[in-house]
Subunit: 215 residues, 4 copies
C-alpha cells in the first residue's frame, strides 16, 4: 500500500462510522426504559382518582426513565466533547469505543436495579462500578487518541491535552471511591456523593469555558 491516499484511508478510516454507531447505541439506550412503561388496566370504572393511583404505582418506572436518561445523557455529552477534538480514528480507537458503548447500553439495567433496591449496598456498588468502568474506557480513549497528538489536531498543546485527561479521570476516580465508601456508610450518602460529583463537574466545566473565553 504505497499510495499515500490509500494509507491515509487505511489509517484514518471511518470516524463518521464510529460516531454514527455510537449515536445509534446512545439513542437506543436513552429511550430503552420507555418500553417498561405500560398503560395500567383498571378493574373498576375509569375516573381521575383511579387513574392517578394506578399511575402512581408506575412512578418508580418513570423515575428510572428520568435517571437513566440523565446518566446516559451525561455520558453522551462527555463522548461528544472528547470526540470533538479527535480528527481521525483507527481500528484501536474503534474497538475502545465499542468497549465503552458496552457499559453505556448496560446503564439502564443498573439504574433500574438501583431504583428497586437502592437501600441495599450491592446494587449501589454495582451501579458505581459500571459507571467507573465506562469512565475508565472514556479516559483510555482520550489517552490513546491524544498520545503524541496521534488522532487529534497536531496543534493542540500538551497542556490542554492533560487538562482534558484530568477532567476525564474525575468520574472514574469518584465512582471507584464511592464503591469503597458503600461498604462503610448508608447508601443514601453514596448517592449524595454522586450528586457532589455532578456539581463538581459542572463547576469545572463553567470555569474552563470562562478560561477559554479569557484566552
Amino acid at each position: 500500500m504505497a499510495e499515500d491516499e490509500d494509507i491515509g484511508d487505511q489509517r484514518g478510516y471511518g470516524l463518521d462510522r464510529t460516531l454514527a454507531l455510537s449515536d445509534g447505541v446512545f439513542a437506543f439506550a436513552i429511550t430503552l426504559l420507555v418500553l417498561d412503561l405500560t398503560v395500567p388496566t383498571l378493574t373498576g370504572a375509569a375516573s381521575n382518582p383511579e387513574i392517578a393511583s394506578a399511575l402512581s404505582r408506575e412512578l418508580p418506572k418513570f423515575t428510572n426513565y428520568f435517571i437513566s436518561f440523565f446518566v446516559v445523557g451525561i455520558w453522551w455529552s462527555s463522548h461528544r466533547r472528547n470526540f470533538s477534538y479527535i480528527r481521525i480514528d483507527d481500528g484501536t480507537l474503534a474497538s475502545l469505543n465499542l468497549l465503552f458503548l458496552l457499559w453505556i447500553a448496560l446503564t439502564p439495567f443498573f439504574t433500574n436495579l438501583l431504583d428497586v433496591y437502592g437501600n441495599v449496598q450491592l446494587p449501589v456498588a454495582l451501579f458505581a462500578l459500571v459507571q467507573a468502568t465506562a469512565g475508565c474506557f472514556m479516559t483510555v480513549i482520550w489517552w490513546y487518541a491524544s498520545k503524541n497528538n496521534r488522532l487529534i489536531s497536531k496543534n493542540m498543546k500538551a497542556n490542554d491535552i492533560r487538562k482534558i485527561l484530568r477532567f476525564n479521570l474525575i468520574a472514574p476516580v469518584v465512582f471507584l471511591l464511592s464503591v469503597g465508601l458503600s461498604f462503610f456508610v448508608p447508601t443514601v450518602f453514596v448517592q449524595f456523593f454522586w450528586l457532589l460529583l455532578f456539581a463538581l463537574l459542572r463547576i469545572l466545566r463553567i470555569r474552563e469555558s470562562k478560561m477559554a473565553s479569557n484566552d
Copy 2:
C-alpha cells in the same frame, strides 16, 4: 487554548452529533407503538369474518400508532425547522436538546394513555402537559440559540428571529391553556381545541412561506 481552530472546535463542536442523536430518538419514538401490535390468535377456523373481528379488537392500538406517529412527526418537523437556522451548537444547547427529547420519547406512552382513558380529565391534562413541556423546551432552545445571534447566522434579522420565537410559543401556550380548560369542559372539547391548534399552525406556516416568496 490559544489557537483559534481549537477554540472554534470547543465552542461549536458537534451539531451533527446533536442532530444524529435526535433523529435516532425520533425514529425510535415514532415506531415504538408498532411493538404493541400483535397478530391475533384465533380459536376457531381462520376465515375473513373471524380475522376481521379479531383485528377490529386491535383497532385502538392502530389508532394509538397513527396518533403517536402524527404527534411525534409534528415535533420532528418543528425540530428540523428550528435547527435549520442553527449553524453551530455548544454544551448548553446539547443539554437543552436532551431535555426536549426526554418528552418526545414519553409521548407514545401518553398518547396510549389518552387513547384508553380519553374520556377522563387526568389523561387529557397529562397529555397536554407533556406536549406543553416539550414545546417550552423547543422555545427555550430557539431563544438560547438566537439570543444575540449566538448560534445562528449573524445575518439573520431580529425581526425574523422574533417571528420564529412567537411561532414556537403557540404550541406550549395553547397546550397550557387546554390543561386549564380540561377542568371545566368535557374532554372531547379539549381535543377539538388541539385540532384548532394544528389548523392554526398550518395556516400560519402557509402564510409565512407565501410572505417569504413575496419578499
Copy 3:
C-alpha cells in the same frame, strides 16, 4: 426574510435530516421481527433432535423475518433511488416522507399476519393494500419533487423524470390490482402475482441501467 441565504435555508433545509430519520425507521423496521425470535425452552434433556424440532416450531417466525427484511429492503432501495435525484427538500416533502414511513413501519406486522393466515383472503388483501399505499406515497413524493424540477437538478430532462414516475407507479398499480384479484382467485395466485411484480421490476431495472451505459 430578505436575505437569499436565509430563504435558501428556509426552503431547502434538512434533506440530511429527512434521510437520517428515514434510515433510522428503516433500520428499526427491518430488524423488528428479530424481537419475536425466542430461544425455545426444552422440557426433556437437550439433544440434537429435541432442539431441531423445537426450532422447527419457530420456523414461521424465521420466514416472517426473512420476508419482512426482503420487503422493507426493497422499499429502502426504492427510497434510496428516488432520493438520489433529489437535491433539497422542503416541509411538504418531509411530511410526505413521514406519511410514506408510516406504512413501512407497519409492514412487519402485516407480513406477520400474512404468514399466519396466508390462505385467507383478508390478510392477503390488507398486505397488498399497505404496500399499495406505501407505493402511492413514494410516487407522490417523486411527483412533488420532480414537478417543474422543483427539488431536483435543474438539468434533469422531462423524459427521464417521466420514466422514473412510471417506474414508481408499477408497484402501487400491481398491488391495487392484486387486491381486486384476491376476491376472485385463491390467495396463492395473488402471491404468485406479487413475485411476477418483483421479477418485472428487476428486469426493467437491468434494462434501464443497460440503456444508461449505452447512452
Copy 4:
C-alpha cells in the same frame, strides 16, 4: 440519461445511505440482548446475598449480551474496514449489503441459542453457519466492489485488493470448517477453534499495519 451528472448520480448514489442503514442495524443488533435483562423480583427481604444470588441466576443473559456485543462488534469493524476503501455504491452493492445485514441481525438470537445449549452439536453448527454466511456475503461485497476497481479508488493496486480478499475469506472458511468439525469433536473444541480464529485475525491485522507503516 445523457447528462454526466445524472449518470454519476444514478450509478454511485447513496453510499452514505447504505452506511447509515448499516450502522442503524448494527446499533440495534449490538444492544438487542439488553432487552432480555430484567431486574429480579425478590420474595424475601432485599439484602446483599439475596440480590447476589438473584443476579447470578441472570448471569447467562449477561454472558449472552457480552458475547453478542463482541461478535457483532467484530463484524462492524470488518464492515467498516471493507467500506473504508469503497468510494461509491450501486444498487447491487446495496442489495448485497442488505443480505449481509440480514445475518448480523440474526446473530444475537444464535448467540443466545449457543449459550443455552452450547454443549449440543446443532446450536454450535448453526452459529458457525450463520457466521460463515455473513462472512461469505462480506467477501462477495468486497469481490464485487473491487473487481476491476469498480467501486473503489482507481489507484488501488491488484495486490492490495487480493490481500483484503484473502483476509475476508479467513472467517467464512474457518467457520465452515468448524461446522464439519462439530460432527466429530466435542463442542468445546469447536469453540476453542473459533478463539484461534480471532487470535489469527488479530495477529494478521497487526502484521498488516506494521507492513503498511514500513512501506
